[in-house]
């Protein structure tokens, strides 16, 4: 897939890291300001897609990305399931989604028990998932144009 013009690539060089950083900010502060796992994950996926569109890359590199993103995605949800099951094992009364970490003072960065962990893990899963959907469509269109 050929990339876009030099102007777009230069802008992407400057803007994509900022978008990615903004996504990480939204995820980390999920339990304090609006946003959270889903919003941050989607923004990170947007930064990734922005780079793919503006720079373009050949087929094998895209397929290699696809492989690593699938691993990231399934381990993301597995992490979320493990956090849920940790509630089953550790918390005093042993319930499925129990909040086994101390909830701390409301408003501080490290405060809401396992919610920041869950935010990070879900953000990884959502960003990998949406980038994979976009990659699958690009790789598919790439392969059709190859054999036509």
């Amino acid at each position: 897939m050929k990339g876009m013009s030099i102007i777009v690539q230069k802008i992407c060089q400057i803007v994509a890291p900022v978008i990615f950083l903004f996504g990480i900010y939204i995820v980390i502060h999920g339990h304090l300001t609006p946003g959270g796992g889903f919003a941050g994950g989607v923004i990170m996926a947007g930064a990734f897609i922005f780079q793919i569109i503006s720079y373009g890359s050949d087929l094998p590199k895209l397929q290699k990305k696809e492989f690593s993103l699938e691993i990231l995605e399934s381990s993301g949800i597995l992490g979320f399931l493990i956090i849920a099951c940790l509630g089953l094992l550790f918390s005093t009364v042993g319930i499925f989604f129990a909040n086994f970490l101390p909830t701390g003072k409301i408003g501080e960065l490290v405060s809401a028990g396992y919610i920041p962990l869950a935010n990070i893990v879900v953000a990884a899963e959502v960003s990998a998932a949406i980038s994979l959907i976009f990659l699958a469509m690009i790789v598919f269109k790439e392969e059709i144009s190859d054999d036509r």
Binding site: F67, E70, I71, S74, S75, I77, L78, L81, A84, C85, G87, L88, S91, V93, G94, I95, F96, F97, A98, N99
Partner: protein, 509 residues
């Protein structure tokens, strides 16, 4: 005891994710994880049915009710749920056994098993949840997994069928979400038991909301006016998947929710009960009339699924009408038991029929009965299992279909709906006619055509799972005996009706 309840979600979901990660490195990890997981869940369900008769309530997250308003999501396993859990796990395990050798023909085999496990997660989560929005989320998982599985073979007709199925499924889901919005608007809560206390008995508002739910879940269960997607989706899906769709999916995310909502959440109103029963009768008639002209085996079976679902809805619908017009409670309990018994039986013989059609298709390469003939010489096991399944669906005595249809017809007669019983008998006779046609044209009529001479019996895993299912078709007719009936059906009927008289007194022995 309560900590067993989340296992129904953790095991299939955990195994799906493990097979997604490890599947990249170890060749057939998905196949084994699927079978081990479903075998474990079948044993867990049988243990729950036999040894844990009481209802299990489980608050996810451990948040206690604040001044008697439930704030956590409830997981609830009662008698009715256990029947569905048994159907899902046992039929799922046998179909997983069957698909070990069936899916060798597909390229992305590991993805097939990941999607199968995710469909199981969706169905289990849907059946054990006691919260309507939670039901919607897990319904969506099972639905999206089944959309992908229907289109797994990527031929023209499979893609087109899956697209039509997705469009109607998505419209159904959005109607359900709108219904949930209306209920939240009226009651302010999402817990099924809590809504039952808050919802006003029978105003025009509750009727509008129940119509929304009937249309939404009717689309999912392919009842009469909304069955357009079922023949295409079930006939073009890979055979183990159409066995799961017909046998289990339309029950778990369609019929189960309609009964759960209209018995436990909405107040019983005579008009709604009559509407549901009429839909059941129409599905019964339309399904079997459309099935007569079919020559493609799987399309014929798909139309029969619609008519057999009509039987289940008819059985439980008569009970609902009697309860709504506060008629005789014993007959209502009896007819609900007949409906649930037919639900279990239909899962087994319809699943077996689809597996047989898959075996015929892999052996001969075609499903069109005109091109088949005289297979009984080369494929004795498949012939035997198809024979037992055809007899079961047409309701021939030693098989389970006969007993459940008999109970529904007796209940209809006792409840005074004579023309309902008459229609049920007529439909059963037409079913028998179309299945003798299937047996004659595919297995017995003329000499084996020469191009089919070199076909061989279906592979071991397929033959094993088909024969186990055929034996189960016979074994489940033992459920009519009072002791077994007491264990399996009394808690289920009680869950739906609230305290019900013992069913044995009715059968007179």
């Amino acid at each position: 005891m309560n900590n067993l309840v989340p296992l129904y979600i953790v095991v299939p979901l955990g195994f799906a994710l493990l097979s997604a990660i490890l599947g990249k490195f170890i060749r057939d990890i998905g196949k084994y994880l699927l079978n081990i997981g479903l075998l474990f869940l079948t044993i867990l369900t049988i243990y729950l049915i036999v040894y844990v008769p009481e209802t299990l309530i489980y608050r996810v997250g451990g948040f206690e009710d604040i001044n008697s308003i439930p704030i956590a999501i409830y997981m609830m396993i009662d008698g009715f749920t256990k029947i569905l859990l048994l159907v899902i796990s046992l039929v799922g395990f046998l179909v997983a056994l069957y698909s070990i050798s069936y899916t060798k023909q597909y390229t992305a085999e590991p993805k097939f098993y990941i999607l199968f496990l995710l469909m199981m997660t969706g169905m289990f989560g849907m059946v054990i949840s006691g919260d309507i929005f939670n039901m919607y989320v897990y319904l969506e998982i099972a639905a999206i997994a089944s959309y992908a599985l229907v289109a797994f073979g990527i031929e023209k007709h499979q893609l087109e069928a899956s697209f039509k199925y997705q469009v109607l499924g998505c419209v159904g889901s959005m109607l359900i979400l709108m219904g949930i919005g209306f209920i939240y608007w009226q009651t302010g809560t999402l817990n099924v038991a809590d809504i039952a206390t808050q919802l006003p008995a029978a105003g025009p508002y509750t009727k509008f909301v129940s119509v929304l739910f009937i249309v939404g879940f009717g689309l999912k269960a392919a009842m009469f006016p909304f069955h357009a997607w079922l023949p295409d989706a079930h006939s073009s899906a890979p055979s183990p998947i159409s066995a799961m769709l017909s046998g289990v999916l339309i029950k778990a995310i369609g019929i189960y929710v309609i009964f759960r909502l209209f018995f436990n959440m909405f107040a019983l109103s005579p008009q709604i009960a009559m509407a549901i029963t009429v839909l059941g009768i129409l599905s019964m008639l339309v399904g079997v009339l459309l099935a007569i002209g079919q020559w493609d085996i799987k399309r014929l079976l798909a139309y029969h699924s619609i008519s057999q679902i009509g039987y289940v809805v008819l059985g439980v619908g008569i009970g609902m009408i009697l309860l709504a017009n506060d008629g005789d409670k014993a007959i209502a309990a009896f007819s609900i038991m007949g409906g649930l018994f037919h639900l279990i039986n239909h899962s087994f013989f319809k699943g077996l029929l689809f597996l047989n059609s898959g075996a015929i298709e892999t052996a001969t390469g075609t499903r069109n009965m005109k091109k088949l003939g005289g297979l009984s010489e080369k494929m004795p096991v498949t012939t035997a299992t198809t024979f037992s399944a055809s007899m079961a669906i047409s309701g021939i005595p030693p098989f389970n279909g006969f007993f459940s249809k008999l109970i529904i017809i007796i209940a209809a007669v006792q409840a005074g709906f004579y023309w309902l019983a008459f229609i049920a008998v007529i439909v059963s006779i037409i079913t028998l006619a179309s299945f003798t046609k299937v047996m004659r044209y595919t297995f017995y009529n003329k000499k084996l055509p020469e191009r089919l001479s070199k076909i061989k019996e279906s592979p071991f895993a397929m033959a094993l799972s088909m024969s186990i299912m055929a034996v189960l078709c016979l074994a489940f007719s033992l459920l009519v005996i009072p002791e077994f009936r007491e264990i399996v059906f009394s808690p289920a009927v009680e869950a739906l009706m609230g305290a019900s008289p013992p069913i044995n007194s009715l059968m007179g022995y």
